[in-house]
């Protein structure tokens, strides 16, 4: 059973978001890292890049696939986890902690409220079968 922290919000694309004021930290869920397998590289944007909702902001490359990662909310990238590519395996071992991908200054903090709660995400995973 995948780990789903209760204090985060989730998207159906398996991203999580941690809101702190108007800044959102974004990463991928335990379910996502498990599906991908061993992560070898994360292609990240740069600080200053702007994205709308559900826009591809980068990609995660594992030994068996490359998956795009999408912004669950719109905003401007204020921080990128630069060191992540030195230890890409952290995406597998600590997807909710050290393996955050970007911090986004949200255009509209209300968008985060529209995301799935941990319970809704858990239900969504169950329905996937």
């Amino acid at each position: 059973m995948a780990n789903i922290p209760e204090n985060l919000r989730y998207s159906k694309d398996h991203e999580w978001i941690l809101v702190d004021g108007d800044v959102a930290s974004i990463g991928i869920t335990d379910y996502a890292q498990h599906s991908l397998g061993d992560v070898v590289y994360i292609d990240l944007p740069r600080a200053g890049d702007k994205f709308g909702t559900h826009e591809a902001f980068g990609s995660v490359e594992s030994v068996k696939a490359v998956s795009e990662i999408f912004t669950p909310v719109s905003g401007e990238v204020v921080e990128v986890n630069e060191g992540l590519n030195d230890t890409p395996e952290k995406v597998n071992s600590d997807p909710y902690g050290e393996a955050w991908f970007i911090k986004l200054k949200m255009d509209n903090p209300g968008e985060a409220d529209a995301m799935l709660s941990w319970a809704e995400y858990e239900e969504y995973l169950s329905s996937q079968g």
Binding site: Y41, D43, S59, E61, V66
Partner: protein
């Protein structure tokens, strides 16, 4: 066979091609010839290529160098000659190993950290470098020297014409022949692209140019058309190049009327994911044995189409192999020796030509094996005279590429030219 696929005649196989573009008649070729007649016909055609048979001082991007017989002999082994793309590493270790050796040797010669498995040729490699610099810097202005091979610049223009690239040319100093005015460089510049030795044979001050490019945050791209020069000159990597592209034809590949040749592409590790082309790497099997695989494939268009670094999904396998055998047969010392012979013979030729009344070397910068001579009359006439009177191709009239230089011609002297050829050329100029 037609019957079993339900067709009545061969023409039905081409039904999907509109009739208005079909030829509609037989090809106009001769009746069948006997093998001996075919050979005679081909030999007669080949004999018209006089530049390949007369002593020739032509260079300008394609060079006459000696290729040890071992090169031709080894590449004709069926394992090499007929093998295809090494997409299945488990049955392609031989191919992958020589690709890895090729990449390693190119890194050593260019002074760079990673090289790909080769591109089509030097000109397209340069075009790809423009595109890579745009991706890495997220800028669109490419500043390229006028002393880069004109045909390379033409190819790069074709490659980039429908994209965002803004190509700006930078002139060379009339006295030295080197890149001079760098005022075009600014914070919108993706790359400064220079060739060294340049089209006129002049060796550029790469370190100074690298500094100028880096000062504005642009990449420094160095183009090498005469690979043998890497045997003598300080490597572009050591001078600060971010990308080195070039032509490997000088490494044992026949001139062949312009191709097939082999493009070189090398860069620094930090840019590897933006590098185009096929890349071979070392891997280990489950028992810990070393093997080779094609790697970082997500850069390629058959894996990720829109995010690919290029549409290339091939390399010049057999030609790169020939170049690898050449480099390994020559070795470090052999390559150095050949390079020195080129430089010394070119120097001898330049001095003797300078002594002829009315002829002078145009540019003062140091040269490797090419230099520009100014004649007292149109170069085309002078060279025609040498060809008719002395049976020598004296060089390349520059007016074709630089119409404001009607009396200038480019002379290339390689290790294949003997002193007597040089002396004969000099006599024909008098």
């Amino acid at each position: 066979m037609l019957e079993s696929i339900g067709l009545s005649n061969a023409a039905d196989l081409f039904r999907s091609i509109p009739t208005d573009v079909q030829l509609g008649r037989k090809l106009e070729i001769t009746d069948p010839l006997a093998e001996s007649e075919v050979i005679a016909a081909m030999e007669e055609l080949a004999a018209r290529n006089t530049a390949a048979t007369k002593p020739s001082f032509l260079g300008a991007g394609v060079y006459s160098h000696y290729s040890p017989t071992i090169v031709d002999h080894l590449i004709q082994r069926s394992e090499f000659f007929t093998s295809y793309t090494p997409y299945q590493p488990e049955i392609s270790q031989g191919t992958l190993q020589y690709i890895f050796e090729f990449q390693t040797l190119i890194c050593q010669l260019t002074g760079m950290e990673v090289a790909n498995a080769s591109m089509y040729d030097g000109s397209t490699a340069m075009a790809e470098a423009y595109l890579m610099a745009q991706r890495v810097t997220r800028r669109n202005k490419i500043v390229v020297a006028d002393s880069v091979h004109p045909e390379y610049r033409e190819v790069a223009r074709t490659y980039t014409q429908h994209g965002e690239a803004e190509i700006v040319s930078v002139s060379f100093d009339e006295k030295t022949g080197r890149v001079a005015d760098l005022s075009m460089l600014d914070d919108k510049t993706a790359a400064l692209v220079v060739q060294s030795p340049n089209f006129f044979g002049c060796i550029e001050n790469l370190e100074r140019l690298a500094g100028s490019a880096h000062a504005v945050g642009a990449l420094f791209v160095v183009v090498v058309t005469e690979a043998i020069s890497l045997g003598l000159l300080r490597s572009p990597g050591a001078c600060g190049a971010d990308i080195v592209v070039g032509e490997g034809q000088s490494f044992g590949i026949p001139m062949s009327f312009g191709g097939p040749h082999v493009g070189l592409f090398a860069t620094q590790e930090k840019f590897v994911r933006q590098m185009p082309g096929r890349l071979c790497g070392i891997a280990y099997d489950k028992d810990g044995n070393r093997g080779y695989v094609l790697t970082l494939s997500t850069r390629e268009q058959h894996i990720r189409r829109e995010k690919a670094t290029s549409n290339i999904c091939t390399n010049q396998g057999l030609i790169a192999l020939a170049a690898t055998i050449f480099m390994e047969a020559m070795g470090r010392k052999g390559l150095q020796e050949v390079a020195e012979q080129n430089a010394q013979k070119a120097e001898y030729a330049a001095r003797r030509i300078d002594e002829v009344e009315g002829f002078e070397s145009v540019f003062s910068a140091p040269k490797f094996n090419e230099f520009v001579v100014r004649a007292p009359r149109p170069a085309a006439e002078v060279l025609e005279r040498s060809r008719i009177d002395a049976g020598i191709i004296g060089g390349l009239a520059l007016s074709k590429y630089y119409p404001d230089r009607p009396n200038d011609f480019l002379v290339c002297v390689t290790e294949t030219m003997k002193r007597e050829h040089i002396d004969r050329l000099v006599e024909s100029l008098k």
